[in-house]
Amino acid sequence: MKNNSTWENFLKPVVVLVVICIVASAALAGTNQLTAPIIKAQEEAAANAAYLEVLPEADGFEEVTDFQSSNVTKALKATNGAGWVIQAYGKGFGGDVPVVVAFDSEGTILKVKFMENSETAGFGQKLADPADADGQKLAESFVGKSGTLEAGDVDMISGVTVSSKAALSAVNSAVNCFNEVALGQAAVVEEEQLTPDQALESMELTEIEIPEGLTGAWETANGTTVLRTEANGYEYETAPLDVLVELDADGNILNVWVGTDGQTAGIGDQAGGAEYLNQYKGVLGEAGLDGVDTISGATQSTRGVKKGVRKCIQAFVAMYPDCAAATAVAPEGGDAESEAASSEAAVETVTLSDEACKAVLPDATTFEAVESATSGVQAAVKADTGWVIQASAKGFGGQVPVIVGLDADGAIVGVSFPENSETAGYGAQLYEEGNESAAALAASLVGKSGEVAIGDVDAISGATISSKAVVEAVNTALSCYNEVALGQAPAADEGSEGTDLSSMSAEEARAALAPGATLTQITAPEGLTDAWQGDDGSYVLYAEDKGYEYSTKPLNVAVGFDANGAITGVWVDVSGQTAGIGDQAAGADYLGQYTGITDEAGLDGVDTIAGATESTRGVKKAVRKCIQAYAAGLAS
C-alpha cells in the first residue's frame, strides 16, 4: 500500500498528464500541417482581393519594399505589367484615411478605392461606403489624372473637408511613391516632427539660469531663447507633456516642440504634430495664445501644450520685462480661468458691413450704426426695415458671435454666424459654409422674439455648449433691441463677469456671500467642513463632496445663507475637476440657479450640466448638506 501511494499520489498523475499532453500535441501538430497552407492561401487571397478590385487586369502582384516615400504602406507591381497598386494613407480627422490606388505603367490613375477608416460617421466614413454617392464621386474624380493633385482637381466632399483633404494627401503620397518606384524619381519624404530632445540636439546652446517652474533654459547662438517645461496632458501627473519653446528677443514664438509619450496614441500625439504646433509660430505674448485652437478629441493634450507654452512665455516675460511680449495684453490668473476671463472680457466692438447686415435683413437699404450699452453686444445697426445686431456669448472655447437681423417689431428675420473658435466639427460648424446643422439652427430662430429658450430652437446635436452660446447671444441681441428700439434700460450683464464668485479667492467669495456682514468662524456642524456666522444672522457654510475625481479631489463648496435662510450664492473650488467641463460647475450660469432657494425641495429645480454630470451633482450634494445642516441647527 505504501509503495502504491507514492505512485498513486505523485507519479501516476504526472505521467498520465504528460502522456495526454504529448498525444494532444502530436494531434495538433498533424492537423496544423494539414491545414496551415490552406489557411495561408486564403488570407493572401483576401488581401489580394482588394488589390485585384482596383486593377482587375493584373494576374498577380509582386511587392516592392525598397522605397522611401512617406505615408505609403504597400507598393505592388502587377506581374503582367498591367500597372501598379499602391496603398497609402493620409492623416484625417480621427486617424488615418487609407487608400488603394491603381496606376497604369505610365502613372495615370486607373482607380481609387477608399478603405475602412475611423472618421466621423456621416462625414469621413462616406469615403469608405461604396453606396455613398459623394464618396464615389470623389473616388471617380481621381481617375484619369496623373501627377500630384490639388484640391481643385477633384470633387472634394462638401462639409467633409478634413477627411477629403486626407484622402487627397493619401493619393498624392501614392503618386509620389509611384514616381519613386516606377519612374525612378527621388522620393518625397515628409519631415518628421522633432521631439524636444532632438530639437535641442540640433541647436547650439548655452545653458542659462532656469526660471522657477521650468525644466530647462538655454540661449542659442542666434540670440534666441529656448525654454523647456512640463505640462499636464491627458495623464495628468503621471505622464506630463514635455514642451520646448524657442522665442526671439521680442518674445515672439519661433518654434514649439512637444514630446507626447503617455498621451493617447493617434489623438494626443496630434498635439505633437506639425499642423497643431505651427499655430504657435509668431505668437507674441500670452494674449497671442487665444488664437490657438485645441484639437477636438485631444482637448486635454492640446490644452496641456498651451499651458506649457504659456508657462514659458510668462517665464520669458519675467526674465526680460521690457520685451514686446510683456506689453502684449497678458491676463492674470490660472490657465483655464484666464482663458475664460480673457475671452469674457474681450467682447470687442466690431463694425458691421452693409453686406453682413443685408445677409440677415435682405430688404433693408440704409444702415446707420448706433450705440448700445447692453453687455455682450458687439455692434448695433439701425436699418430702414429693422435692426441688425451682432452679439456674442461664451461658448466652449471662447466667444461665439451671432449676427441677428430683426424687423421693426423685434422679430428675428435672419441669423448668420461669423467665425468663432469653437471645436472643429462641433461649434465650428456654425460658420462652415453650407453646413446643414448650422442652417437648421439659424432657420429655427427666424420668427422668434422677446426671449428665446434652448428648447425653442434646433440646437446642433453634440454641440450643446456652442448652441447654448448662440441662444444666449441671440437673447443679448434681443435685449439690445429693447434698448435701442424701445428705449428700455440696457440689460447689465448678469452674473457672467461681475458676480462670478468662483473666480474670487475664498475670502472674497465669503464676503460676497454674506454682503455687509462681519463674519466670525464658528464650530462647523457635523457633515460640514467649515462654518462662518455673520452678525446679521447670515451664515456661510462649507461642505465637501465628490466631484469627478471622487475621493482624490473632492469639490469644496461654500453656500451663503441670509438671515431668513435663503441662499445668497454658491462658491465652488473646482481645482481638480476636468477643465472646461467641470469648471462650468463653478460658472455663474450654473450656480445662479441656487440663489434664492430656501430648503431642500428647492434643489429639485436645479439642472445638472450635460457632460459635467458628476461635478454638478457633487455641487448639488454639497449644497444639500449645507441646507440640511442649516435647517438642523442654525435656523433660528
Partner: protein
Amino acid sequence: MNKVQIFTNGLVKENPVLRLVLGTCPTLAVTTMAFNGLGMGIAATFVLFCSNIAISLLRNVIPDKVRLPAYITVIATFVSIVQMLVKAYVPALDKSLGVFLPLIVVNCIILGRAEMFASKNKPLDSALDGLGMGLGFTLTLVLMGSIREILGSGTWFGMTVIPASIDRFTFMTTPAGGFFTFGCLMALVIFIENKTGNKKERSIGCEGCPSKSVCGAKGGCE
C-alpha cells in the same frame, strides 16, 4: 438506459440548453443567424463526441486528482483541431463565429457531460450521449437562430423569407433580443413541462454547474 434512450435523452428530455441550462453563452451569442447556430452546433457536437469517447476511454487511467486538467487538455485539443479545420475549409463560418469557436473549450456542456457521464460510462454509451447532447444543442441553436434571424433580418439561412418591404424587427438581432428569445423559449418549454407533468427543477449558479463538486472557486463564478 438502452442505447436509443441515451441518444434521445439529449434531444428533449435533458436538452442541455433548455432543461439543463448549460452552454447559454454561445447560445445567446451566435444565434443571430440560423447558419451560425448550425455551424456552432456542429462544431460543438464534434468536440463533444470526440472528447466523450476519449475521456471515457481514459476514465480508468486518469487519477481523480488531475481529472479536471486532463479533461480540459483533451477538450482543448479537440477544439483546436476543429478550429484549424474550420479556418481552412469553412472560413466564412470562422469569421461569423469569431471568438466563440475557441470558447467551445469552456462550454459547460462539454465539461459537464465529461464529468457527469463520460467519466462513468463505457465509450460507446458516452459517444451516443455526446451525439445526443450535441444534437440537442444544435437543434436549440438552430431554433433560436431561426427565430432571431427571421424576425430580425427577414431571412432564413440567408434566403429572404419576409418581403423586403416589411420593416425588420432588428431588436431581435441585438443581445437584448437574444435574451428575450431565450426567455420566451424557456417559458414555452416550462409550460409544456407543466402540462405533461415533467417539471424539472432548474438550478442556477453553483447549484446547476456540473463541476460543483470539484470547483475551487466556491461561488466565485456567481
